[in-house]
Amino acid sequence: MEAEVKTPEQAIGTWKRVCLLADIPVLGSRVVRSSSGDIAIFRNADNEVFALHDKCPHKAGPLSQGIVHGKTVTCPLHSWKIQLEDGVAQLPDIGCTRSFSVKVENEVVFLNV
């Protein structure tokens, strides 16, 4: 697995071990409870991992429960499509949810919180 750091300038923060890559289903997600609130970590079909605040910018729906496709998750409440890389809602909807740095090293997922 290739190591991957989303925003290197943040990499100085604290990397916390979250789980094994295998603990996240392909095209699925897990919820991580942190001091910054619930964070949804997603794994797509290419085994890329992403982390977003588990709240849709629309009506705070839990994005972790949505359907993952490509680099997007569809919110389970009203079907807003949120980009996994930056948390931005796809047009014509407008909004953004916070994203977090996440990396995979030796099949272990680390989250920067």
């Binding site: 429960q65 359907i67 496709h69």
Partner: protein
């Protein structure tokens, strides 16, 4: 790598739509150059009439502003007319000497207005009605001159006449035929139209032939002279007698033309490097002059330019709507009738309403409506779908009355609504917002409106209203999609029917292989198509196909209903609405133990525990020890029963036990949409069998079975299927019907819509009349349901399994 060069000649609606579609598919394939004769970017030509009428401005009707061309790296040459195509050197040359080389050439040269070859046709003050320049000239003329004559009583001529009248001119319409809009209207409707236009102050001269346009002292046109010798004053003459495909350029380079540049089903001309779309193209002998077919062509041309090679244009059925404020008029198909067709006519001259439906072999082939066009879209849909209307023939004329059921105060006429009226009650969208989005963003389809405004995107009950608003904003440009060929979603061009057929014929056993085989455009689909494919796979190939949890909506994945705050609701099964003191005690204990905030009795005769945390679900299930109620699934929900002959003094049949038997038989049945049943013990029908997917009503001599009812968004009364004697027959008949629905219904199509689509006769034939087929259907259902395990028990048992843990456990850091 060198990009291919694409040159487009003609900067109008069809061409630009093709570019938009192309950029969606292959944004980086081409270096694009566009030549347009007009000095404007692409604008919505259909809306020139509202501009002339003073209801909109030029700025309002621009579809692609200059920024759009820049953002997409398109080189735009406005005001330059291409005069020569050098096919050997593969370049085009403009009148001013500008040249551009191409690898692919797209001709979208549109059409030219036809000018009557009469003396004086070139005089100042004699114009056509085609573009912004003509419109400006008319607006100017209206300021300085008095008498306008419009030659041509067709759609365009009448819109021009109306606009000029509103601008204060004295307007006469000259028409050579005995009645107006003869290609769209029959004589009666045209008469009513003429009357109401006369009330607006227009004058009509029918069956008159123009002999000459006479110049005045200034050299400008001053009068029009007819063949019968009469002369009337005319300071402005607008010719709107028809259009001719603009093929001069194509012909000059030797491309085969025949009333249009001849194209095949891929919009390719006889030179494989050259494509043609829009009014200049002749497809299967037809050059379309309305915008909707052009958009379909654009999609196909873009698909081939993007080298996908799978689109095919097969011609269009068109409809017409006049854009004159205050006049509602709609026509589609072959409305003139004849000896081999039936006509249903409703005529109320005083009320200003006229409707004519033309039927042939139990199919709608044409419709003309004047005054009340509410159901225009619905009729057009029936016409395009070639749907058998035998079952609804007796009330066909009275419309779908699907408008205004719930959520918008019963309103059913969009035109009369104020801008502040709430059209979509689910998403709180007002009429003004929808109109604004349509005009500002240049929307043409229901899907676009849904995407941009959310109107009618939730429950869909206001779809009819939204369609009306769309139709009144864009006129004939609005074409409801053909429901049988509509693509599943943006990830594919295939329809539900085609996807399902392919899965069956190719024996595709998983979502991934199905997408791969059908060349899905996106890597793993989207939230719309994945659940549909998953359903088609598992329903077509039970026990063989792989059920993909990640392609199911969260409710079916978590076996509970997600609520607005992210908690879940849990509904344990109560067979036939029956429970026991022991079950009730356990439910109470669970509610206490997990601090469940709300306990509610549902409409389906069970108990709903609301506000359960996801992580608690496996524990709740284990402690309940009752099977899942599947209140969350596109699946069998409940069988509602009345007390029946077990206790009731009126009961004729044992409805509770019949209900329990049905519910146990259907346990675990996944279906295109939710399925609800009811069994009543007598015709008093306390279980409300008349509004269920399958409703059973006990009578003294047996049971009556009703199907395709619905108590939701739109109350639909179930239709009588058949009468049977025994419990076993009820199970076989209901099971066979539901299996047919499972095999033929499109994903998210309720039984009521399925039966409306295929017709009750079709269902009766396969389920009631054909005994062998019924038994086969029933067997296939039982086979599919064989060995189904309660998902709650399974999960509670396997709580320690990592996959279950993964779904429900929260990670702490």
């Amino acid at each position: 790598m060198r990009k291919l060069k694409l040159v487009m000649v003609g900067n109008g609606m069809a061409g630009c739509r093709t570019l938009e579609e192309l950029l969606k598919l292959a944004p980086d394939l081409y270096e694009i150059t566009v030549f347009g004769s007009e000095p404007h970017p692409n604008y919505n030509r259909i809306l020139l009439s509202p501009v002339l009428a003073g209801e909109m401005t030029i700025q309002d009707i621009i579809l692609n502003d200059l920024d759009w061309y820049a953002e997409n790296n398109i080189t735009l040459h406005t005001g330059k007319t291409i005069t020569r195509i050098d096919r050997r050197a593969r370049k085009v040359v403009a009148a001013d000497g500008t040249t551009a080389e191409y690898d692919r050439l797209l001709l979208a040269t549109g059409s030219n207005p036809f000018m009557l070859p009469v003396p004086g046709k070139d005089l100042p003050g004699v114009i056509s009605y085609r573009d912004i320049k003509d419109t400006d000239e008319m607006i100017d003329a209206a300021r300085t001159h008095k008498h306008a004559v419009v030659i041509g009583g067709g759609l365009l001529g009448l819109e021009a006449a109306n606009g000029l009248k509103l601008r204060g001119m004295d307007v006469s319409v000259v028409h050579v035929m005995p009645w107006l809009m003869e290609r769209q209207l029959d004589r009666v409707a045209a008469g009513m139209l003429q009357k109401s236009l006369e009330k607006k102050g227009l004058k009509f001269l029918l069956e008159r032939q123009t002999a000459e346009l006479v110049a005045g002292e200034s050299g400008r046109v001053a009068a029009i002279k007819f063949k019968d010798g009469e002369t009337i004053p005319a300071d402005l003459v607008v010719m709107a007698v028809g259009i001719r495909p603009n093929t001069g350029l194509a012909e000059s380079c030797g491309l085969h033309c025949n009333r249009g540049v001849v194209v095949n089903d891929t919009m390719q001309t006889f030179d494989p490097r050259i494509y043609a779309v829009g009014e200049c193209a002749s497809h299967r002998g037809i050059a379309y002059g309305l915008v909707a077919p052009l958009f379909e062509q654009a999609k196909v041309a873009a698909n081939h330019l993007a080298m996908y090679g799978i689109g095919r244009y097969q011609g269009s059925v068109t409809s017409t709507k006049l854009k004159v404020t205050g006049i509602d008029l709609f026509s589609a198909g072959d409305f003139m009738g004849g000896s081999d067709v039936d006509e249903i006519i409703l005529q109320d001259p005083a009320g200003g309403v006229y409707k004519k439906l033309v039927l042939k072999d139990n199919r709608l082939v044409g419709a003309v409506m004047y005054g009340d066009t509410v159901d225009g879209s619905w009729y057009f849909q029936l016409l395009k779908d070639k749907q058998d209307i035998q079952d609804i023939r007796d009330h066909l004329m009275f419309g779908k009355s699907n408008l205004g059921d719930t959520g918008h105060k019963g309103a059913n006429n969009a035109a009369s609504l104020p801008d502040t009226a709430e059209v979509c009650g689910c998403n709180g969208v007002c009429k003004g917002t929808i109109v604004k989005a349509i005009t500002e963003k240049g929307l043409f389809s229901l899907e676009d409106v849904r995407k941009h405004t959310k109107a009618s995107s939730s429950c869909g009950s206001c779809t009819g209203l939204v369609e009306q608003i769309l139709a009144s904003c864009v006129g004939g440009a609005y074409q409801p999609a053909d429901s049988n060929s509509k693509a599943v979603c943006g990830c594919t061009d295939l329809s539900h029917g085609e996807v399902r057929k392919t899965i069956r014929e190719q024996k595709l056993l998983s979502v991934a292989t199905a997408m791969h085989f059908m060349a899905w455009k996106t890597p793993n689909g989207c939230a719309t198509c994945r659940p549909a494919i998953n359903y088609y796979c598992i329903s077509t190939w039970p026990h063989e196909a792989e059920d993909d949890p990640q392609s199911r909506f969260i409710n079916e994945r978590a076996h509970a209903n997600i609520q607005k705050d992210g908690t879940f609701s849990v509904v344990p099964r109560m067979w036939g609405g029956l429970t026991t003191p022991d079950e009730l005690r356990r439910i109470a204990d669970v509610a206490d133990k997990y601090k469940i905030p709300t306990v509610k009795v549902t409409g389906g005769q069970r108990i709903d525990l609301l506000g359960v945390k996801k992580a608690d679900l496996p524990g709740v299930w284990q402690d309940l020890g009752i099977p899942s109620g599947h209140a969350y699934g596109k699946s069998i929900r409940t069988v509602k029963t009345c007390v029946g002959a077990e206790h009731c003094r009126f009961g004729t049949q044992l409805s509770m036990s019949m209900g329990v038997k049905l519910e146990k038989m259907l346990f675990g049945m996944w279906s295109p949409h939710k399925v609800k049943l009811a069994v009543s013990g007598c015709p008093r029908n306390c279980a409300e069998s008349g509004i269920k997917d399958v409703g059973v009503i006990g009578v003294d001599s047996g049971y009556e079975i009703y199907v395709a009812g619905n108590g939701g968004i739109k109350t639909e009364v179930a239709e009588f299927l058949c009468k049977v004697k025994t419990d076993e027959e009820v199970m076989e008949m209901s099971g066979a019907f539901l299996q047919l629905y499972r095999e033929e219904g499109y994903y998210l199509e309720r039984t009521v819509h399925y039966v409306q689509r295929v017709g009750l006769e079709h269902v009766k034939k396969l389920v009631v009349e054909d005994e062998a087929n019924r038994k086969a259907l029933y067997e296939r259902l039982l086979y599919a349901l064989q060995g189904y395990k309660d998902p709650w028990a399974e999960r509670a048992e396997a709580e320690k399994a990592s996959t279950v843990k993964r779904e429900f456990e929260i990670i702490e850091v």
